[in-house]
Amino acid sequence: MMGEPIVILLAEDDPAHAEIVRRNLESSRIINQLQHVSDGQEALDYLYRRNVYSDPACSPRPGLILLDLRMPRVDGLQVLKTVKSDPFLARIPVVILTTSAAETDMAKAYDCHANSYLVKPLDFNKFADLLNLFGYYWLVWNQTPKQDEGSTHE
């Protein structure tokens, strides 16, 4: 494919699940850069370049956020709210990727302006298909306005 690699911020507390996402995206041959944080607090630190992420070189602005809901310290929903209520971050597509198929979770996520809601399948092939299609859709076909890189610094 073409174009610049898109930075994906993956917020996932379970290392095994993070590994699954990483492996599948790698095999789909879509150019991207996966940044993994292990809870909501770290995700916010990354987005606002705080603490260990204070160096912009280590924390490029993501073109997509892949967010688990249940995480220690700060959960996914809180991260979603923060992102969508910040004008500098609001246009970043946020895709929820969770094991929960509960109606309340979906409703809450969409109420907080999640762009998509995906449930982790209980099947290896399906999980692979999902991430493959996800990659094509969100990284190839989906268009977002070009953000002024400078505007995200503050």
Binding site: D13, D14, P15, A16, H17, E19, I20, R23, S38, D39, R70, M71, P72, R73, T98, T99, S100, A102, K120, P121, L122, D123, F124, N125, F127, A128
Partner: protein
């Protein structure tokens, strides 16, 4: 005088009774008259003062004739005077107002009222024609016409005797109107004045003059014609009512006058004025003649003929005293009661000195104020049982004096068929004593008199009175003029004390004074007791009402308090339920999520493993297996914790006594592997405390806390744990202090939630602290953590009241 006048006089007469009653009646009359007359004043509006309540005295203008004696005349000072003038003045004064009179002939006087120059006229005869211009008060006097004839003329007594004769009247006078109205079949001659008519009559012209009786008397006196002509009796059909008159529509003044009039009638002013102005005229004519006073010849001690045949008794003495007082020339004629009564009706007797008043009798006679009250009683022989009352005489033979008030009373009771009429009370008692008939109804005092006099000791007189009629002077209607004189005389001798002497001398010996007083007291009590009873009943009722209200208020208050308590309880319960529900929801949610999560890992890595095995990538195969291994471990741990969690919530587990040390040692032994592995220093305070509870639960508290402390140990310094107990104001507080990583204050609440792990990299289900919290709370305790944050260690503290209290403390 007529019925109206008599009633007025009866009212006035009643005043002369005992002080209490007179005052009482006076008030009643006043009250009644206000009731009767006041409605007239109701529609009156405007600034004029109204009724007795008014404080503003107003001078009312009146106009009076100067030549209508004795109603309206002019005195020597040239001022208005006369009966009507004085009456108007008195009536207005009673209402708090004054009056000024101007005088003139009738035409002028009448005109001045019509034109509004004056407000009231004191004397206006009420006729339909005049009602167009004037409003009239109630009549205060009714005058009657009469026939005047020459002295010695005996053929003319009534109107019927005038047929074919020549009759003179004044032109335009009521008298002319009267003779024309009744179509008198006689030659009517009109004269300019009545004086002229009377003079001509005296000189031999005409046969009779028809004229107002009082006017005639007055004119005869003035013209000194008394020896030539004589005045006959009143003509009932020729009557004229006199009133005060006001301008048509002057309702306010009218009601004022009516009220004033009723007051002066009630307070005796009217009677006083009447006597002052009329008595001299009427008596003037009669002075020469004797007044025949009639009485019962056998009604001792009131009236009877003594041994010498002379009239004697209380009534006779009283009449003599009054005659002396008023200058009347009296002669007595005593006979049987029936005979005397008939003579009175025929007019042969001028006055009867003792007659019981009754409304029926008042239709035939005029009554003076009572000069005594005579109690009547039942008399029976000693061998008979005294009847309880007048109404229990049915079937008995009863003797009464014919025409006596008891005769009337017995008929009234329906005993007519049982009556035996006798001529006198003496006869009744005598025959009763002799064994005839069952009983007699007689006056008490005469009965006592006869029984004592004749020695009829086999008779007994009832204690009670069956009737107590008023004993009065009675006159035929035509002699009404006598009544004011008699009343005046009676009042005078009462004032002089003479009355009491006569009464005591004749009646005192028979009267039980105490009884009279007792009667007064009784009457007083009859009035006061019901009022008191009513009052007490009202007070009681109010009291019970107040108690009821107070009780109900207290009950309601109690109810409200109880309801509020219940509501508070329900609210608390609801809150608890909400909390439980939320917890349950979180629990089920967490299970579904957290159990699924490792399953996803296992299944996905199985897929990777297959691929990696095919590719023979050894490194990846190792990693795949590692992830799967962790996931299954996690699931195992989760299931174990869940089971514990469910167990903790169960009730009915066996509780036992166990020392604090024992519990902590149990917990340490299950974790011995980890402790040794990480070289953890554990220090346990030597607390001699006995706990009471479910063993595995208690052990689980410390086990999980120690496990937690080991998992979150510092990576830089050797881990150490201190377990102990401290006494605080809220009771014993357990603590477990470590030197581990510490907990950021913002997560110190969150760590006790289900499946909340601060570090996902650390093994554990996230259920440990939730489980501890649950056990602590089940034992009514609370748990919290103290830590200042990163790398400062933390101290878990908790209380266990249920566990402690059940053991009785340390």
């Amino acid at each position: 005088m007529t019925v109206e006048n008599l009633q007025l006089k009866r009212r006035a007469a009643r005043q002369d009774r005992s002080g209490v009653r007179a005052g009482f009646w006076c008030n009643v009359l006043l009250f009644l008259s206000i009731l009767v007359f006041y409605p007239d004043s109701a529609p009156a509006a405007g600034p004029q003062p109204s009724s007795t309540g008014s404080k503003v005295a107003i001078t009312i203008n009146a106009a009076s004739e100067y030549d209508y004696p004795p109603f309206c005349v002019i005195n020597e000072q040239g001022e208005a005077d006369g009966f009507s003038v004085e009456l108007l003045r008195a009536a207005l004064k009673a209402m708090g107002h004054e009056v000024s009179f101007k005088t003139g002939p009738w035409d002028q006087v009448k005109k001045s009222l019509i034109q509004g120059e004056v407000q009231v006229l004191p004397l206006v005869g009420r006729t339909p024609e005049r009602q167009q211009f004037f409003d009239f008060t109630v009549p205060y006097l009714t005058l009657y016409g009469t026939i005047v004839v020459r002295e010695g003329e005996t053929g003319i007594n009534t109107l019927a005797d005038l047929v074919g004769r020549q009759v003179a009247v004044m032109r335009g006078d009521n008298a002319e109107e009267f003779v024309r109205r009744i179509n008198l079949d006689a030659t009517i001659v009109t004269t300019k004045t009545f004086e002229e008519a009377l003079r001509e009559l005296a000189e031999g012209q005409h046969d009779a003059v028809i004229i107002q009786r009082l006017v005639a008397l007055q004119l005869i006196k003035q013209a000194d014609l008394g020896h030539q002509i004589s005045v006959g009796s009143s003509l009932d059909s020729f009557a004229q009512s006199f009133c005060f008159a006001v301008r048509g529509g002057d309702k306010h003044l009218l009601s004022l006058l009516n009220e004033g009039l009723s007051i002066v009638i009630a307070d005796g002013t009217f009677r006083r004025l009447y006597t002052k102005w009329f008595a001299p005229i009427e008596t003037g004519l009669k002075e020469r003649s004797r007044i025949i006073v009639g009485g019962d010849s056998n009604y001792p001690p009131f009236e009877y003929l003594d041994e010498n045949g002379e009239p004697a008794g209380y009534n006779v003495e009283l009449t003599k005293a009054i005659a002396r007082q008023t200058g009347l020339n009296v002669a007595f004629r005593l006979g049987t009661w029936v005979e005397i009564r008939e003579a009175l009706a025929r007019g042969e007797i001028d006055v009867v000195q003792g007659m019981f008043y009754s409304p029926e009798r008042e239709k035939s006679f005029g009554f003076s104020p009572a000069h005594a009250v005579v109690n009547h009683a039942v008399v029976v022989r000693n061998d008979t049982i005294m009847p309880e009352s007048l109404s229990s005489l049915a079937g008995k033979s009863i003797m009464v004096m014919q025409g006596d008030i008891m005769h009337d009373a017995a008929i009234e009771q329906g005993y007519e068929d049982q009556l035996i009429l006798v001529a006198s009370q003496e006869e009744a008692l005598q025959r009763l004593s002799a064994g005839e008939y069952d009983c007699a109804l007689v006056a008490k005092i005469p009965a006592y008199y006869w029984i004592a006099q004749k020695g009829w000791n086999n008779l007994q007189v009832s204690d009670y009175s069956v009737r107590s009629p008023e004993y009065c002077f009675a006159v035929p209607d035509k002699n009404d003029w006598l009544l004011p004189l008699l009343s005046e005389g009676l009042a005078n001798i009462k004032a002089a004390g003479q009355y009491r002497q006569i009464y005591a001398a004749w009646l005192g010996v028979y009267e039980k004074n105490q009884l009279t007083q007792w009667e007064i007291v009784q009457r007083f009590f009859w009035i006061i007791i019901p009022i008191l009873v009513l009052l007490v009943a009202m007070i009681l009722w109010l009291w019970t009402l107040r108690i009821t209200v107070r009780k109900r208020t207290a009950e309601l208050r109690q109810e409200i308090v109880e309801r509020q308590q219940r509501e508070a309880e329900i609210a608390t319960k609801n809150l608890e339920l909400d909390k439980k529900n939320a917890e349950l929801e979180r629990f089920t949610y967490s299970i579904s999520h957290d159990l699924k999560s490792p399953l996803v890992t296992v299944k996905t890595f199985l897929g990777f493993l297959k691929k990696d095995l095919e590719a023979g990538d050894q490194e990846k195969i190792g990693r795949d297996l590692h992830y799967m291994h962790s996931a299954t471990n996690k699931m195992g741990q989760l299931l174990a914790d869940l089971l514990t969690m469910i167990k903790v919530g169960q009730t009915g587990l066996t509780k036992e006594q166990i020392t604090f040390r024992h519990v902590v040692e149990d917990a340490l032994s299950t974790l011995a592997g980890a402790i040794t592995e990480h070289n953890v220093q554990v220090q346990v305070d030597d607390v001699p405390l006995l706990l009471y509870g479910e063993r595995t639960q208690l052990v689980a508290i410390w086990q999980n806390l120690i496990d937690n402390a080991i998992k979150y140990r510092s990576l830089h310094i050797p881990p150490s744990i201190a377990i102990g107990l401290e006494q605080t104001h809220e009771g014993p507080v357990f603590h477990l202090r470590d030197n581990g990583r510490g907990i950021d204050p913002c997560y110190q609440e969150k760590i006790f939630g289900l499946f909340d792990q601060l570090n996902p990299a650390i093994e554990g289900s996230g259920l440990g602290l939730a489980l501890v919290k649950r056990i602590v709370e089940l034992n009514n305790g609370r748990i919290w953590v103290e830590s200042s944050g990163s790398e400062t260690g933390s101290c878990f503290k908790f209380t266990l009241p249920a566990v402690i209290t059940n053991t009785g403390g340390a």
